[in-house]
Amino acid sequence: MNRRHLSIACVLLFCFVFFMDDCAVAEKGTGILYKARDVAKSNINKAIIKSFADITEEEEYYIGRAVAANILSKYSVYNNQAVTQYINYVGNSVVFYSERPEIYAGYHFLILDVEEVNAFAAPGGFVFITKGLLKRCQDEEMLACVLAHEVGHICANHGLKSIKKSHLTEAFRLIGMQAVKKYGTQELTKLTGIFENVLGDIMKTLVERGYDRKYEYEADKLAVRIAVNTGYSPSGLKDFLETMVDDSSDVSGKGWFKTHPKANDRIARVKNEISNIKTTPLKDSVRTKRFLQSIKTIQ
């Protein structure tokens, strides 16, 4: 290759690098990862076909915030800083060993001041457990497994999957048409309406109807794996579910049975899942001791 060829090659390389760097622009500080320029109609159609998988981390966070606000408008927060801190320690321990340890604004755990036994996981890392559920736990393993189950729902995007596809299609069509332009008042009103529908879908699933059975079983499966990876005995999940068998009391019947499959079905599956694991950690008295110490102020 002579000098002339080399010069042409260098110019080509320079042009190519410059062009490619412009293709996917990461704009630091603006919150926009990729800046779409003008989008051709064919690409908009492609966008419409896709579903919850197209929801970005940031959008998931805003959906999760609003779901959390709705949950907190139905339930009061149990204000006990020490216990709240403790469940955040346990929660973040299982998060570290889950499939999705990093999420847009991190995972946060809160206790709801109600005797009903229940737990909710909103998209974006917002996890709620009731005081009644915490009282039902007898050791850290049980608590960790319940939290791992909720983290499993978030990892597997079960909340986002409960959004009706038609609502997402509507959103993607609208934003697709407004890809570069900042949307105006009319678009904002429409998007807010779609946002309400999206929240309605998730709230209905979380609080009223419950997830599909297959999602509950999947979250149990994930909880077993997360618990083992963290170093907790996965039997904590089985032990917790056993406390729910044939429990027809008002406190547990109110929420849990309405939104979860029968405890016996889940126990059988959890046992089976545990039996497939070669070595599982055992319960440790150190953890049980700190659990009892941490929750002793709960009334």
Partner: protein, 161 residues
């Protein structure tokens, strides 16, 4: 035309080389995260990273990436905090404006963001976000988490049973 045909293999070579180079660029997709000294969540923080920061991959281990920041700082980040910088060879022959993916469209137009949240809050004043903001303030440092795991014999501090 014949004159330029000798450049075709060269151009192909550049394309292939660039594809490999692009595969090693990652972008922070979470709001903020830490670049850590070792591949552990409780490891010491070298620097805080912001959403959208570009990182160059220099190694990988068990779901963690060893990366270099644009300022040349090397450290570890978990795979779930980043996404690979996307690049499509098929897009080369098309004008720039047809290259956005569905995700990019969503991001550019921001379907659900602060503006939508504010509009929602105005419409539903009975739904308070104050407790949500308070919940987001619950923070545990990596050092505190390390102590908790260690005392509870969890993670790598656990014993084989």
């Amino acid at each position: 035309m014949k004159k330029y045909s000798k450049f075709i293999p060269l151009l192909c070579g550049i394309l292939i080389l660039f594809t490999f180079l692009m595969a090693d660029t990652f972008i922070v997709k979470v709001r903020t995260t830490n670049l850590r000294i070792e591949p552990k969540f409780y490891a010491k923080t070298l620097v805080f990273l912001q959403n959208g920061e570009k990182l160059e991959k220099i190694g990988a281990r068990d779901g963690w990436l060893k990366v270099k920041t644009t300022k040349g700082i090397e450290g570890w980040i978990h795979l779930s905090a980043v996404e690979e910088k996307k690049f499509s060879l098929t897009a080369i022959n098309q004008p720039l404006k047809t290259q956005a993916t569905a995700g990019e469209v969503a991001l550019a137009a921001k379907a659900f963001d602060k503006n939508v949240e504010e509009a929602y809050m105005k419409k539903h004043p009975q739904i308070s976000f104050a407790q949500v903001d308070k919940m987001l303030k619950i923070k545990i440092s990596p050092a505190q988490m390390k102590i908790f795991l260690k005392r509870g014999k969890l993670g790598e501090f656990g014993r084989e049973k």
